[in-house]
Amino acid sequence: MSTSLRNRPGPALAVAAAVLLVGAIALAFYWVPDDADQGFSQRIFYIHVPLAITAYACFFWAAWKALRLLWKADERYDLESYTAVHMGVMFGILTLVTGSIWARISWGVWWSWSERQLVLFLVLFLFYSAYFMLRYSVDPGPRRARMSAVYALFGVVLIPVSFLAIRLAEDFIHPVVFTQRGPQMAGSMFVVFCLSFAGCLALAGALYQTELAGKRLDVRLRELRRALA
């Protein structure tokens, strides 16, 4: 079994994630200066934006694996694509929750339609939740793998199209004027941001490896059971 080789990145990634994230959070709380405009609450930026970018990365990874599946017709990529979508949804939910809390603290509302990133994530969350509905309602097999792959590819195309749509929609959906979120980052802020970003990616990678190993084990056990019964 080659799973032992594949599992080796797992522990290393987990350690890296722990170190990077703990370091980044500590720095975000104690070292980094307050933002001139938003004050202390701006520090949410250091976890919210890396989570969002990591979620996008997961969706793109899922689409890449999906493309490989359709191209090579190797079912191994199905589980990888599925796990990546799962990770993307997890990080997407985290992005929505952290973004909502940030909106609450910045503007007093739990949700704001004028926050493009949040709205985009809401649309993507709906889209990729339907991915799971799709997988659960089709019997396992190469057909389900292919359909999931096509859907994952559609998702990645939807990301820029939706973003464009949301920007266009602001014209007629009561634009509320809020100050832009991305600060002009001082050097120290950028360092912490990068640390946090690397940590989030490592976390996603570690969770991805563990989840993938678990799913593969599940499949093998099922085959074994069928062979023995």
Partner: protein
Amino acid sequence: MTSYLSDVAVLARKDLLLELRSRDTVPAMLLFVVSALVVFHFALPSETAESDLAASGLLWVAILFTALLGLTRAFVAEREQGLIDALVLAPCDRSAIWLAKTVSVVCFLLVAEAFALPAFALFFSPVDGVTVAAVLLSNLGIAAVGSLLSAIAAASRTRELLLPLLFLPLAIPIVVGGVGASVAEEPGRFLGFLGLYDGIFAIISWASFEYVVTE
């Protein structure tokens, strides 16, 4: 190339003839869209009903859900008669099946909209040329994506349940484009966006259909 187009023509003609004879789907779509518009009238407080902005949104909601109604039936006949397997085994390019289905869905939508737009103008506010253009443009996007998703849903256990879930997130840009075109002073951008959506999603639907439909 010509044999590809003639395959598409044959398949589309089959769908349209079937619909002409059975008259299942289109009358239901017509009735649905008018009923939906009436429900919307009662669903809105009187001030907003007069405002053009709220009203244009409703037209698009009505069109989307009417389209969903029609799309749910799109591959039912093929599924029931086992035609999908026959079509897939046939020596035509699988994507021709998708193109033919898209053409027939567009035709159904056109008939439904021929009723929906006058009804909307009657119940709510007059419909200008830009809105008509937006509706026509959106038909391709709805049909292209809808045909692919309908084939996916037809292969699942939950069929009618699954299609709206898959379709609605993808339909959000269409609504933005359509409502924006009706409402904004410069509709050009929104019409352009609708065209972009149509192009992008038609191409990837066309390219990925064969992966969805083969066993």
